[in-house]
Amino acid sequence: MQPNLTHLRQLEAESIHIIREVAASFERPVMLYSIGKDSSVLLHLARKAFYPAPPPFPLMHVDTTWKFREMIEFRDRMAAEYGFDLIVHINQDGVEQGIGPFTHGSSLHTDVMKTESLKQALNKYKFDAAFGGARRDEEKARAKERVFSFRTETHRWDPKNQRPELWDIYNARINKGESIRAFPISNWTELDIWQYIYLEQIPIVPLYYSAKRPVVERDGMLIMVDDDRMPLNPGETPEMKSVRFRTLGCYPLTGAVESEAATLPDIIQEMLLTRSSERQGRMIDHDQAGSMEKKKQEGYF
């Protein structure tokens, strides 16, 4: 039986509905752009939502200064190609204090350069709604988060006190200073994202494709030596390996996987045949049970 709308077309329509609803209901929305594959899909959906007009909000990248160089190149290329309004925010206090993952550890680095930096940027530009690319299938704590997720004036999320969300009707009422995070691709899975990228031929950062890259093995993770800020331990020599990334973040915190997958179908095939979830490559989840939930409460996206 041929469905009237396939699952991807239904997901697409739902996301567009959410994006339009946010744009119509808030004074200063912004789309957080993390440069990853989910962000690429989100941007694509935003372009669809308002075609032939450009999206009526800017994109913002919270730059920790430790992103892969290829990510930054991709970001700037996309901004130029699609002509969207891009804001890049860096926590200058953190830069002045020399905060970095190697010197201060992943937890403090993420807190200062990502969580704090995001709050700084939202306050600075007075954004009252921020689109994010989080998905409910990523992590248990996300499974319950609303599509319109309310944040207090201090950007806190209260998981016990969320607004009920029925049908496709979203409560957009906030008081001054409060804001929402909007998650248009809440109901997509990793597989949906990849299938959609394939179907729609959405450009993604080349780091997702396998290539020979210099890596060292550390704590069971393959870390790519992306620039000379990476201190090598005694005896460590970067090796050229065929690797790719299933998730993208700060290069010192993101593990590569050995792979020969050089095309989208290869990637999808690999994903379906291997049995480890995509967030495994992120150090941030491994700290302690429920760590993502704690981070979210504090304002990590």
Binding site: M1, P3, N4, L5, T6, H7, R9, Q10, L11, A13, I16, H17, R20, E21, A24, R47, K48, A49, F50, Y51, P52, A53, P54, R136, D137, K140, A141, R142, A143, K144, P159, K160, Q162, R163, P164, E165, L166, W167, D168, I169, N171, R173, S186, N187, T189, L191, Q195, P265, D266, I268, Q269, L272, L273, R275, S276, S277, Q280, A289, G290, E293
Partner: protein, 639 residues
């Protein structure tokens, strides 16, 4: 394994092609932890290969630490997201789970089953097409089963799976299964389901979950997964009349003006005639614009942008509809409401309602009754508390476009927002609109208003006497009625004060009560008009909006506003009832003319004053005006 691994390995392009044709099913699972709900969902995720090895490792270690299966894998632990809940061993919110097979992608709303979480279940049910209702085979149909069934039916779910779980604990006894099914079918007669599929299961052991079980040779129906893959949820949204709630007006430049939204029901093609529900303006669809090119046709569920042949005024909140099948458009309607907040519902209190992209101020004008979610009994009540369900009349400050929810599940649904805390305090589904003649199918009478008035040799009308207290309204109205009576006309007078002794004796003087007071008087007058009677209403009615409300109830030409324009000083000097004196002394608050305004009519049909004229003269002027308007002459209706 539900994904065909062979195809993935051998022909990934073929696999991807096949995946593009998948459909989507959203379902809700209802039951408590004890019924094995989390185990059931956990197993569906497990068997569709959605659990990865690192998650499995975490699951194994969690199962040893806090598991309830004696160290064996506890599938339930996969699901409980929030830390506090995990420790308490209960799920307290709505969590969404995802899995897919080669045929379908599934979104599961996983909600708690206790009575104190009715709101969560309603939330989960709102987007689901199928409800899986879990029953512990040892316990049979419980109060919670009835509650879960009622709530899912209330939210418009048509397809139910009765998952009779833990069959292993009753030795797969067919007679007990049949008994449960028979009892459920009997109970479900009062609900609005179109299909009920009962399946004997053991989620823990895997019986009839994915593969048919050897333990139930007497059962020949589908397994749970097979049923979920094949169940036909009505595609009837597409067969309903076209509705497009406008979310966004797309105006990149002066040459393009598009109306964006998600088609909630029906289908649309270029050239189709549409109507803007609120204004009644019509036009034809010029193009269906999308990023991927213009479409020849769009159907329910698609997010599109329409351009029209004509330049007509349309903004966010408007509903574009099929010109030949317009939705209801009313400011008053009856709805079923689920209350979702600790602060009780207060009839008369102003709330916001959001219905699609339409937002209005509204109040619950009357709570008709509450429904006990366990027994389905109707109970009288003045408020709704958290998790209670009731039937109420809602009165909005502007008309809204909708279809009754039972007719079109993608319309007629709304959330209720507290105007001060911004919390979502309730949700509602429209049963039907109230009052507006355009919506209510009037009982067609052979003897109609025109026929009745014709018999009396008159045209029925309302003479609405407005003016300050002491202006002479009642005096003049009394004289006018005498004169009309003498002319052989059939009349009746509704006096503001007199009505408060009877029909409206339950109403006070708050703003809400004042509005209700006027509404009742207006409705009563309207009935007299329908009876063919010339109806005189004597009422201070100081606010323009109140008089407008009364005017809007009857047809054009039937409402004749008579302004008794006697100045305040004169009225106060007369002070027939001694009220001005009391008001000046501060003994009466909100007295019109003293500390509450009187909004003068700007376009009254008749204006007289008892300061310059005698009451007798004023009455004569009015009667001659009525003659001029054709009220007194024989009016030939189209019978």
């Amino acid at each position: 394994m539900s994904h065909k691994s062979d195809l993935i390995a051998d022909d990934i392009l073929g696999y991807l092609k096949a995946q593009e044709e998948k459909s989507l099913l959203r379902f809700i699972t209802c039951g408590s932890v004890d019924d094995g709900k989390s185990t059931l969902i956990g197993r569906l995720l497990w068997d569709s290969k959605l659990i990865f090895e690192d998650q499995l490792a975490a699951l194994e270690s969690d199962s040893r630490k806090v598991g309830t299966q004696g160290g064996e894998i506890d599938f339930a632990l996969l699901l409980d997201g929030l830390q506090a809940e995990r420790e308490q061993g209960i799920t307290i919110d709505v969590a969404y789970r995802f899995f897919s097979t080669d045929k379908r992608k599934f979104i599961v709303a996983d909600t708690p089953g206790h009575e104190q979480y009715t709101r969560n279940m309603a939330t989960g049910a709102s987007t689901a097409d199928v409800a899986v209702i879990l029953i512990d085979a040892r316990k049979g149909i419980l109060t919670q089963t009835r509650r879960h069934s009622f709530i899912t039916s209330l939210l418009g779910i048509k397809h139910v799976v009765l998952a009779v779980n833990k069959m292993d604990l009753i030795d797969y006894d067919q007679s007990k299964f049949d008994q449960i099914v028979a009892e459920y079918n009997e109970f479900a007669k009062q609900l609005n389901y179109s299909s009920i599929t009962a399946i004997p299961l053991s989620a823990l052991r895997g019986d009839n979950m994915i593969e048919p079980s050897a333990n139930t040779p007497w059962y020949s129906g589908p397994t749970l997964l097979a049923h979920l893959e094949d169940v036909q949820v009505e595609q009837d949204a597409i067969e309903k009349p076209f509705r497009l709630p406008v979310q966004w007006v797309n105006r990149p430049n002066l040459d393009f003006r598009g109306f964006s939204g998600t088609i909630s029901s029906g289908r649309i093609k270029p050239g189709d005639e549409i109507v803007v529900t609120a204004s009644g303006q019509t036009s034809k669809v010029k193009e269906i614009v999308t990023f991927d090119g213009n479409l020849d046709e769009a159907i329910a569920g698609q997010a599109i942008t329409l351009t029209l042949e004509d330049e007509i005024d349309i903004s966010r909140g408007d509903v574009l509809a099929e010109a030949k099948a317009k939705p209801d458009f009313a400011d008053q309607f009856e709805a079923r409401i689920i209350w979702m907040h600790e602060d009780h519902l207060l009839p008369g209190r102003p709330y916001l309602i959001k219905m699609g992209a339409q937002i209005a101020n509204a109040q619950i004008s009357a709570l008709k009754y509450k429904v006990n979610v366990n027994t389905l009994e109707h109970v009288a009540g003045k408020t709704l508390e958290l998790n209670e369900v009731g039937i109420a009349n809602i009165s909005a400050d502007k008309a809204l476009a909708f279809d009754p929810y039972d007719k079109n599940r993608h319309s007629g649904r709304f959330i209720i927002i507290d105007r001060f805390t911004n919390a979502t305090v309730g949700a509602g589904m429209v049963n039907h609109s109230l009052r507006r003649a355009t919506n209510i199918k009037w009982q067609e009478m052979d003897i109609n208003k025109g026929a009745r008035a014709y018999q009396k040799g008159q045209k029925s009308a309302i003479l609405w006497f407005t003016g300050l207290s002491g202006a002479g309204k009642s005096t003049v109205a009394n004289l006018v009625e005498k004169k009309l009576h003498a002319l052989g006309k059939h009349t009746y007078t509704l006096d503001g004060d007199n009505v408060r002794h009877g029909l409206n004796k339950d109403l006070g003087f708050t703003d809400a009560d004042r509005v209700e007071n006027i509404r009742r008087v207006g409705e009563t007058a309207k009935l007299f008009v329908d009876a063919g009677v010339i109806t005189l209403v004597s009422f201070i009615s100081p606010f323009k909006s109140e008089r407008q409300l009364a005017r809007s109830l009857v047809e054009e030409g039937e409402f004749i506003e008579v302004f008794i324009d006697t100045p305040l000083e004169v009225c106060e000097q007369r002070d027939v009832k001694g009220l001005y004196k009391k008001a000046r002394a501060g003994e009466i608050a909100n007295f019109t003319g003293i500390d509450s305004p009187y909004e003068r009519p700007e376009n009254a049909e008749i204006v007289v004053s008892t300061a310059d004229q005698s009451a007798e003269e004023a009455a004569e002027i009015i009667v001659s005006k009525l003659e001029e308007f054709g009220v007194l002459g024989t009016w030939f209706p189209e019978i």
